[in-house]
Amino acid sequence: MTAQLPRGEHEVILEFMEQEGVQGAMEVLGMEVNGAPMGMAIYQCEYRPFHREAMQSHMYMGWPGQWVIKIQEPVNENYGAVGFG
């Protein structure tokens, strides 16, 4: 999945198709911004199960829910190790 983002803050959201029922699990393994692996910044994320408390820095989603991360564009001015710094 790729997206072009205008300048400013954005939320990237991965969401299960349905709120109920068994749908398997999902794990986020990595994320690249402008072609560069974003490294530890990926843990600035939040897992929001639909029927449970939200959890910070969780990459594994065993219950249906959303995985949300905020991205600041331009990323090369906001993330170390991305682009020319």
Partner: protein, 293 residues
């Protein structure tokens, strides 16, 4: 030496005179792929980048013009490129991560630029100095994760004439020595001349490839450690011990090895908006050293 002022117009003017944006776009695309086009569409050098450019490159003109330059730990190769644009006859960049080395070699070849890049480590310094007949060495931000003291010895013993160093140094006032330390010194152990602080941390970026514990198993492209049996990245296990030295210790070590200090500048003020923790804390320091025989 000219004092650095934030937003220094002279530095930006020098940047505009020496940098071709089409080159930067080519570098980015070769390293990070087509996705980097968006990043480079409106690229402007940040304050942090201009500050490093001023102190590593602009202020080191005499150590670069006409010289054969070795850029150890060249990362994305920007400073290799800048050294070349400031008159270096040839630049050799050393970096463990394939995504940088391969992309930069493609870029240099496409543009017929006198630069070449190799995969390598800090432990290769002595051999590289000999093999490439190096005049000037650039060592930027190597003192937190590599054995920089050994590299300093290697440079001192070589025929290289110049060493451009960017280090991160801690103010000497951050740690006060106790009475016990001075009492111990009186026993004949020698006077303390500074300190090193060791930090246990995670890799905040893709530099796992330089972790001595894992460099043999790191992903050859990105440098991330492979610590899981399935070959997938496990960032949370990417522990490193980083070390930062006090300003007095680094100066003592430079004198001890025998370099002549041509100039030394401590970062004048923190860049609080910088994504770099070091720049935001104002911990950068630059040395231009001459290797006199």
């Amino acid at each position: 030496m000219e004092q650095w002022v934030l937003g220094n117009e002279h530095t930006r003017s020098m940047w505009d005179q020496h940098v071709e944006i089409t080159h930067l776009r080519g570098m980015a695309e070769n390293i990070w792929g087509a996705d980097a086009q968006a990043m480079m569409a409106e690229f402007q050098p940040s304050e942090s980048l201009l500050m490093k450019y001023q102190h590593n490159i602009v202020n080191s003109d005499r150590a670069l013009r006409g010289k054969r330059v070795l850029d150890m730990g060249c990362n994305h190769g920007l400073y290799s490129y800048l050294a070349m644009r400031h008159g270096a006859a040839h630049v050799v960049g050393i970096e463990p991560r394939g995504m940088f080395v391969n992309g930069l070699n493609r870029f240099a070849e496409q543009n017929d630029l006198p630069m070449q890049f190799h995969r390598g480590y800090d432990t290769d310094m002595a051999r590289l100095l000999r093999e490439h007949d190096i005049d000037t060495v650039i060592m930027m931000s190597l003192n937190d994760t590599t054995n920089w003291e050994n590299m300093m010895y290697d440079v001192r013993k070589s025929d290289a004439e110049w060493l451009i160093m960017q280090v991160t140094t801690l103010p000497d006032t951050w740690v006060e020595f106790s009475k016990e330390i001075y009492d111990h010194a009186k026993t004949g152990s020698g006077m303390p001349v500074g300190f090193t602080l060791h930090y246990e941390t995670f890799n905040s970026d893709t530099r796992a490839g330089i972790n001595p514990m894992h460099k043999d198993t790191a992903d050859p492209e990105t440098g991330f450690q492979h610590v899981r049996h399935d070959g997938k990245y496990d960032l949370k296990s990417s522990h490193v011990i980083q070390s930062l030295q006090s300003r007095q210790y680094i100066r003592k070590f430079i004198d001890h090895v025998g370099f002549k200090v041509e100039s030394s500048v401590v970062q004048p003020s923190p860049l609080t908006k910088s994504p770099s923790r070091l720049a935001a804390s104002g911990l950068y320091q630059w040395y231009l050293l001459r290797n006199e025989k």
